[in-house]
């Protein structure tokens, strides 16, 4: 089954640890991450997402980020990433 995780609007420092916890809680299952509400994506939550994507891929599970908000994709661009690069192996 696919677990769904909805990202919070502000993905800053206080959001990083809970986000990691939430994703870790779904270890072993496919995850669909809903990024529709994100208005701010910070560096720490970004690294949680990237590391999770790597781990999930290595474990053979699916991790997808769906419904990315405009702010989310714009922030990815600022960080030098594309939506595809976020969950693929090659980073920019």
């Amino acid at each position: 089954m696919t677990a769904r995780i909805a990202l919070a609007a502000r993905l800053d420092l206080p959001a990083a640890a809970p986000l990691a916890e939430e994703i870790r809680g779904q270890t072993g299952s496919d995850i669909e991450i809903d990024a529709s509400a994100v208005s701010h994506l910070g560096g720490l939550c970004l690294q949680v997402l990237i590391a999770a994507a790597v781990a999930w891929r290595e474990a053979g599970n699916a991790l997808t980020v769906s419904a990315m908000s405009e702010d989310f994709t714009a922030a990815l661009a600022v960080f030098g990433l594309t939506p595809e690069a976020l969950i693929s192996e090659k980073h920019a």
């Binding site: 800053d12 420092l13 990083a16 640890a17 986000l19 990691a20 994703i23 870790r24 701010h40 994506l41 910070g42 560096g43 720490l44 939550c45 970004l46 690294q47 949680v48 990237i50 590391a51 999770a52 790597v54 781990a55 922030a75 600022v78 960080f79 030098g80 990433l81 690069a85 980073h91 920019a92």
Partner: protein, 734 residues
């Protein structure tokens, strides 16, 4: 703990104020005819820095305004636009608007009106909006694709911007956040965005340091970025982006081969932007000016502040001047390290707490001295000598702490420059403001509370003080009126003067008006000074028509009461055809006061020394009766009303005879005098002011209180206020 982001935001706005100050300074220099590169650079950099900071906080309106202003200044900087009088005027207006924008962003107010007009006027001077500049800016939603040449330049990710590749340097900036960057409220996102705002940027995210998800500490930074930046950027600008985070990240800045046609110098990160390369004529001017432009405003800003941190003002200018000769080497650090080492920003509350504590220390020391004296120790005992040294130290500490609160009047004067600009435009007069003694330091509270009265006085001077240009020319004066605003220390007080070179006070008209308003009797014989002082009467306005600038019912009486409430005095001197001078004399601080400790009817009181002209012992022949209840004294050829302090304060009934009593002769702001009877003068000393208003409200005749050495509380009198509400009874009605 407070929100770190809010703190950073607050410090950004503090920095904005400083940048705005250096902007005004530079514009003043330009206004005086200096169009050198350095000065123009200071303007450009001030606007640019505000834009950069605003970008990090997402203050779009401010960024947009600053960007367009900056674009114009860039044209000036590159010599494509000439600095005319008209342009300078617009630069000033734009600077005023920039200030409004900053305030609006800080306080959440509306965007200032008229910004668009000024910007359009500026852009018209420049020959229309400069579109390609926008491509370098992150806030612009306009990306001119047609100009992008997409040349392969040293790396497949480095797309050149417009045609000027050969002239533009390229930078490689490697940025790795360290633990602490995020924890201190900073965010890699904002830094990267600010970098990308400097020019054409490509960003690479380096995930090689990222641990496996299972081992990842979500709050420890693990990503790094490499930004390749092209555009008209110098290293100082890049360093500036990292101002807040220098110590919580590693930054490597490297000039790339090919970018700017400069020889490649890999492996030399941290060097300034190769200022002296001969094949870079237009660029060499910029980085060479780099250290100057960064240091110069900093030095000017810090100089007056530096003496406040110690008691030796002399070394400050030398220290401030020192960075200049180190030209290129200093450039590497010019992003703000300079300012950080010279000054420390301290929360005002902390200083106030320190001031309060030192006040307590002074009181405590006085108590100790008193106990030692009462213990009857010999004067040359080690306790006494130790205590004397302690007293001197206490006094030094107190002076030093008071100096921390002292600030130069310069920012206040700069605000007045704006008032002059706006006021003169409103009444269509040519006015120039000359300022003197801007570095004079006064207590911060005094400065803050001086702003309103000074604004009013300046407006008055522009509106009423100066004649119209035609009248001036007819009188053989230059058509441009001059208002001089000066500050200086004079015998422990600060004197601020507002002087105009106008027609002087029309005393006939003033007297006529005062009589018609019933303020003085028709047959009154008034001296010139007395007539001048009529201006301070409530409800007095000489303007035949009420202009929208001054004369809105807020008269000089309000100015006077504001000054008086600060413990100050205001005086006028005026000469027909030459001009009028308003002179304000203020105490340097509101925390301590030199006072005379007196005894009245068994009570101890403190009378501010500044209010006392002389003291005298009354002789029988000095006292004359005036009516059944009132006495006056005859002193120095004049008669002065006699007030019994004990009776006025309700301590006792008026005495039968005052012969042999001591009087304090006090002076009022209007120059009139009053004699206060006291029983004895105890001593003259500095007392720490403890406000009463919060606990008791306003008590007529009482300004505040203090705690004396013996722990006793003494009231500090306000003689003018006391006399105003006095009964004047000095005789028992028979």
């Amino acid at each position: 703990m407070s929100d770190p982001m809010a703190e950073i935001r607050a410090s950004f706005f503090v920095e904005c104020e400083e940048l705005l100050e250096s902007l005004q300074d530079a514009l003043n220099v330009i206004d005086e005819g200096a169009h050198d590169n350095e000065t123009i650079n200071v303007v450009f950099r001030a606007v640019h820095s505000i834009k950069g900071g605003a970008g990090a906080f997402g203050l779009t309106a401010l960024v947009n305004f600053a960007h367009r202003y900056e674009t114009v200044m860039d044209e000036v900087r590159s010599g494509k636009m000439e600095v005319t009088n008209e342009a300078t005027k617009l630069f000033f207006q734009a600077a005023d608007l920039l200030q409004d924008h900053v305030r609006a962003a800080r306080d959440g107010g509306d965007e200032p009106a008229g910004a668009e007009e000024v910007l359009c006027a500026l852009e018209a001077l420049m020959g229309g909006p400069k579109i390609e500049q926008d491509a370098e800016d992150e806030v612009s939603d306009f990306v001119p694709m047609g100009l992008s040449l997409d040349l392969d330049f040293g790396g497949d990710d480095a797309a050149g911007p417009d045609g000027g590749i050969d002239e533009e340097p390229a930078w490689s900036i490697r940025f790795r956040p360290q633990p602490g960057l995020y924890a201190s409220g900073n965010e890699a996102f904002h830094i990267l965005r600010a970098l990308q705002g400097l020019g054409e940027a490509t960003v690479e995210c380096d995930t090689s340091g990222l641990p496996a998800f299972g081992a990842l500490d979500p709050e420890a930074p693990a990503l790094a970025w490499t930004v390749t930046l092209r555009g008209d950027v110098d290293e100082a600008q890049i360093r500036e982006v990292f101002d807040f985070v220098e110590d919580v990240c590693t930054i490597e800045i490297e000039r790339l081969a090919g970018g700017g046609g400069a020889p490649a110098l890999p492996g030399l990160p941290g060097l300034p932007g190769l200022p002296d390369l001969p094949d870079l004529p237009d660029l060499s001017a910029l980085p060479a000016a780099g250290p100057e432009e960064d240091e110069a405003p900093a030095a000017q800003m810090e100089m007056p502040v530096a003496p406040a941190t110690g008691s030796a003002p002399a070394p400050a200018p030398a220290a401030a001047a020192a960075p200049a000769p180190q030209a290129p080497a200093a450039a590497a650090k010019s992003g703000g390290g300079e300012a950080a080492s010279a000054t420390v920003r301290v929360d005002l509350d902390r200083i106030d707490r320190l001031v309060n504590l030192v006040g307590e220390l002074v009181i405590n020391q006085a108590m100790l001295a008193q106990s030692v004296a009462e213990a009857g120790l010999p004067p040359n005992s080690s306790v006494m000598t130790g205590l004397e040294a302690f007293m001197m130290l206490t006094r030094d500490i107190q002076d030093s702490v008071m100096m921390i609160r002292a600030q130069p009047v310069k920012p206040l004067f700069q605000r007045m420059a704006r008032i002059v600009r706006e006021a003169s435009a409103a009444v269509n007069k040519e006015v120039r403001l000359k300022t003197e003694g801007e570095a004079t330091e006064v207590d911060k509270t005094v400065i803050e509370r001086l702003a309103d009265p000074l604004t009013h006085m300046i407006r008055n001077a522009v509106d009423h003080g100066l004649e119209s240009s035609e009248k001036r020319v007819a009188a053989g004066k230059p058509s441009e009126g001059v208002i001089t605003l000066s500050a200086q220390h004079r015998s422990g007080r600060v004197v601020i003067e507002v002087k105009d070179d106008g027609g002087g006070i029309n005393r006939e008209k003033v007297l006529e008006k005062a009589i018609s308003k019933g303020l003085v009797p028709e047959d009154a014989q008034l001296s010139d000074a007395e007539i001048d002082n009529l201006l301070f009467l409530p409800g007095f306005s000489t303007a035949a028509e009420v202009s929208n600038l001054s004369g809105r019912g807020v008269g000089m009486d309000v100015v006077k009461s504001a000054i008086t409430s600060l413990g100050g005095r205001i005086t006028i001197t005026s000469e027909a055809g030459v001009g009028t001078t308003f002179s304000i004399s203020l105490p340097l601080t509101l925390a301590v006061l030199d006072g005379m400790v007196v005894h009245v009817a068994g009570e101890t009181l403190v009378v501010p020394l500044s209010a006392i002209v002389e003291t005298a012992t009354l002789m029988e022949e000095d006292i004359r009766s005036l009516g059944p209840n009132t006495n006056v004294i005859h002193i120095r050829g004049g008669f002065v009303p006699l007030y019994d302090l004990g009776a006025e304060l309700g301590y006792r009934h008026p005495k039968d005879s005052y012969v042999g009593d001591i009087v304090l002769l006090t002076t009022q702001e209007d120059g009139s005098r009053a004699a206060l009877v006291v029983d004895a003068i105890h001593e003259q000393r500095q007392v720490v002011i403890k406000g009463l208003q919060q606990s008791y409200g306003h008590i007529p005749g009482v300004a505040a209180a203090t705690i004396l050495g013996d722990g006793q509380i003494a009231l500090i009198l306000d003689p003018p206020d006391l006399v105003r509400s006095a009964s004047g009874r000095t005789r028992n009605a028979a």
